[in-house]
């Protein structure tokens, strides 16, 4: 704009103030906008757990060696997207692993070869708990007990040393042998109130190789607890009764007792 031949540069007036002369103070409109955004974010933060929790509460992770319906689901998607060829056989083998890695790399996911919630979401599928089996081998009957015991060890002791994992598995088997507890591995593990991982569902996660091996070791007779029937984490438990049991040995975070 020119005035009297000289270029005039004017400071741009705040658009809102110019548009809304009755708004009051110079900062009221931006502040209102900020407060509206803040309120929306707070509401979203409050609502998010209600909206997404059902999916998050049952996180299943598939990896090399797993089998089952969830693996079939993943394979079908990978075949559909041309990452995998052949039939969906339900076995997470080397070909499936390669396809998963390629999919993850191309879709900006962490390329770890494991299908967790993020990769499953990218594939457009959900993985319900119980839809896959661990990599334990053997006859069907043997695998069921070995698998269940492995899942329990994973849920209860995956952060413990290998010896601690064998010890937890051994406690289950000691209970089977004891007349005070059910006579089967299934009965002991699913006995009401016996293991918190059963009531909170974490027993349904896929065990890792260490826990599978630890369960096998215990099934083969190794027992670092010397016959204990109980164990607890002394730092975490609020159970006063279990603290009355006689401690036989401490392995890692767990005290083993009779």
């Amino acid at each position: 704009m020119r005035e009297n031949g000289r270029a005039i540069t004017r400071s741009p007036a705040p658009a809102r103030e110019k548009m809304c002369p009755m708004a009051g103070s110079r900062s009221s409109a931006p502040a209102r906008k900020k407060s509206q955004r803040a309120a929306a974010l707070v509401l979203l933060a409050l609502l998010a757990p209600v909206l997404v929790c059902p999916a998050a509460s049952a996180a299943v992770v598939l990896e090399l060696g797993d089998r089952g319906d969830n693996v079939v689901k993943v394979q079908k998607r990978l075949i559909k997207f041309d990452y995998l060829s052949g039939d969906a056989d339900g076995i997470f083998g080397a070909d499936t692993l390669a396809a998963v890695l390629l999919f993850q790399r191309r879709n900006g996911l962490t390329a770890d070869g494991r299908v967790g919630p993020a990769t499953a979401a990218a594939l457009g599928i959900t993985l319900p708990a119980g839809g896959s089996a661990s990599a334990a081998s053997g006859s069907a009957y043997l695998s069921a007990d070995h698998r269940l015991l492995s899942k329990l060890v994973y849920a209860e002791a995956r952060g413990e040393s290998y010896k601690g994992q064998v010890a937890v598995a051994a406690v289950v088997l000691n209970r089977v042998a004891s007349s005070e507890f059910p006579n089967t591995i299934t009965g002991v593990i699913y006995q009401s109130g016996a293991f918190s991982c059963v009531s909170n569902g974490s027993i349904n996660n896929t065990p890792d190789a260490s826990c599978i091996r630890a369960a096998r070791e215990a099934l083969n007779g190794w027992d670092p607890t010397g016959g204990c029937l109980y164990y607890y984490n002394a730092r975490l438990t609020s159970d006063t009764w279990i603290r009355t049991r006689t401690i036989v040995t401490v392995i890692g975070n767990h005290s083993f007792a009779i």
Binding site: A29, L142, E180, A209, N220, T249
Partner: protein, 431 residues
């Protein structure tokens, strides 16, 4: 102003939609939770009523038993009693009362089951139900009634349940060793279960001497360092060590009373099966021989996750002693022994005064079922509950090609037990 109003209305609309979705989801989840709670409640009531019904049946059968004259009737009743007791125990285990308050009731049901098993064996051996047994059966029947009334009362309220351990259970019965050998290992692989190890011969050892024993047991050339990690008191007072080795980290437990090794355990996985199974089995045998275990014979092996686990039984005068069992685990990648489990050996191994068998090898073979084709016979000692028996182990092929191990009492000719060999990916199991 118009634009600002529109933005405000859009924000309100979006938030309203989100709130609606959240509310709908919450209502849906609440309804689902209610459904699940009702299902759990129904399952608990079913378990209570079923337990009560089974206890009613138990009560009646326990009273009928002494009144039966025929062996067949008694055996049928005992089979029913065993099944009913197992059913009570299974149903009690799922009740929401919490594990501890039901321990007494579960133990009671287990003891009835074990007692029935003992009576079955007694009758099979030609014995009778004694007067003491009859009194015991009467007391058990009365206790079943008490427990039934408690359960029926709880079924009405489904409040917290608390059971006093009923009287009359037989305190001395040990469960027969069936479950472990049924599942995952060779014959009598769990040996004779004892909660505590009997006193061992030999001299007590201190921590330093025990560490030297652990080092020698593992092999000095493998050991880089040893740390004392604990002194557990079961199954016997032990020194526990952790050894940092060239190939793995090993846990070793040495008995304080005798300096013998109770177990060795490795935390390192095997990456591959590089060595053949037979070579690993030979390594295991040489390991035991070098450590003074005496004559041992491999009875069974399994191969899983790169490890070969071999069961060895002691041998005395060509008789296989199954209760004197040692398990050796060999890493098939390195060829090194990664694990030893010697509890049964330490609990049971002793020189035995074995009687000459009253039954000949041929007689034993003839006592196997006519449906089986005998493939081999050998003399052995097997664990029973309680104690152990000298028996002929008859290996036989069934009509469908299945392989069976039939154990015939070497003195009485009675058929003690039958195991079936099951082929799996990791080896041959017994059930």
């Amino acid at each position: 102003m118009r634009r600002e109003n529109r933005r405000a209305w859009i924000s309100v609309a979006v938030l309203s939609v989100l709130l609606y979705i959240a509310t709908a989801r919450a209502i849906q989840q609440g309804a689902r939770a209610e459904q699940l709670a009702e299902a759990a409640d129904a399952a608990s009531r079913r378990a209570l009523y079923e337990s009560a019904e089974l206890l009613g049946g138990l009560q009646g059968n326990l009273l009928k038993l002494p009144a039966c004259a025929s062996l067949a009737q008694k055996q049928g009743l005992l089979a029913d009693i065993s099944r009913q007791a197992f059913g009570v125990e299974e149903n009690l285990a799922v009740l929401p009362a919490g594990a501890r308050s039901l321990e007494g009731a579960i133990k009671f049901a287990n003891q009835i089951e074990d007692y029935a098993a003992v009576l079955i064996t007694t009758l099979a051996d030609g014995g009778e139900i004694s007067e003491a047994d009859q009194e015991q059966l009467g007391a058990l029947s009365e206790s079943c009634r008490e427990l039934q009334l408690q359960l029926l009362g709880s079924a009405e309220s489904l409040g917290p349940v608390s059971f006093a351990a009923p009287a009359g259970g037989n305190e001395t019965q040990e469960p027969s060793v069936q479950y472990p050998s049924l599942i995952y290992d060779g014959p009598f692989s769990d040996g004779a279960q004892t909660p505590l190890l009997p006193a061992q011969g030999g001299s007590p050892v201190g921590a330093a001497e025990a560490e030297a024993i652990a080092r020698a047991y593992i092999g000095e050339e493998r050991v880089r360092g040893v740390t004392l990690t604990g002194e557990p008191t079961r199954p016997a007072p032990c020194w526990e060590f952790e050894a940092d080795c060239t190939d793995a980290r090993l846990s070793v437990s040495v008995l304080k009373g005798s300096g013998q090794v109770l177990y060795m355990l490795s935390d390192t996985a095997s990456a591959a099966e590089r060595l053949p199974a037979q070579e690993c089995a030979d390594i295991a045998a040489q390991f035991l021989e070098a450590r003074g275990y005496g004559p041992m014979q491999p009875t069974y092996s399994s191969r899983e996750e790169g490890f070969l686990t071999v069961n060895f039984a002691a041998v005395q005068d060509n008789v296989l002693l199954y209760p004197d069992l040692v398990k050796v685990e060999v890493n098939m990648e390195t060829g090194l022994v990664s694990g030893v489990e010697a509890r049964n050996y330490l609990a049971n191994h002793a020189a035995r005064a074995l009687p000459a068998p009253a039954l000949s090898r041929e007689d034993a073979a003839a006592r196997a079922s006519s449906a089986l084709t005998v493939d081999g016979v050998r003399l052995c000692v097997i664990p029973t509950s309680p104690g152990e028996r000298l028996a002929w182990e008859v290996t036989a092929i069934g009509p469908n090609g299945g392989v069976f191990l039939v154990y015939i009492d070497a003195q009485t000719g009675a058929e003690l037990t039958i195991l079936r060999l099951v082929e799996t990916d990791s080896g041959t199991k017994t059930e």
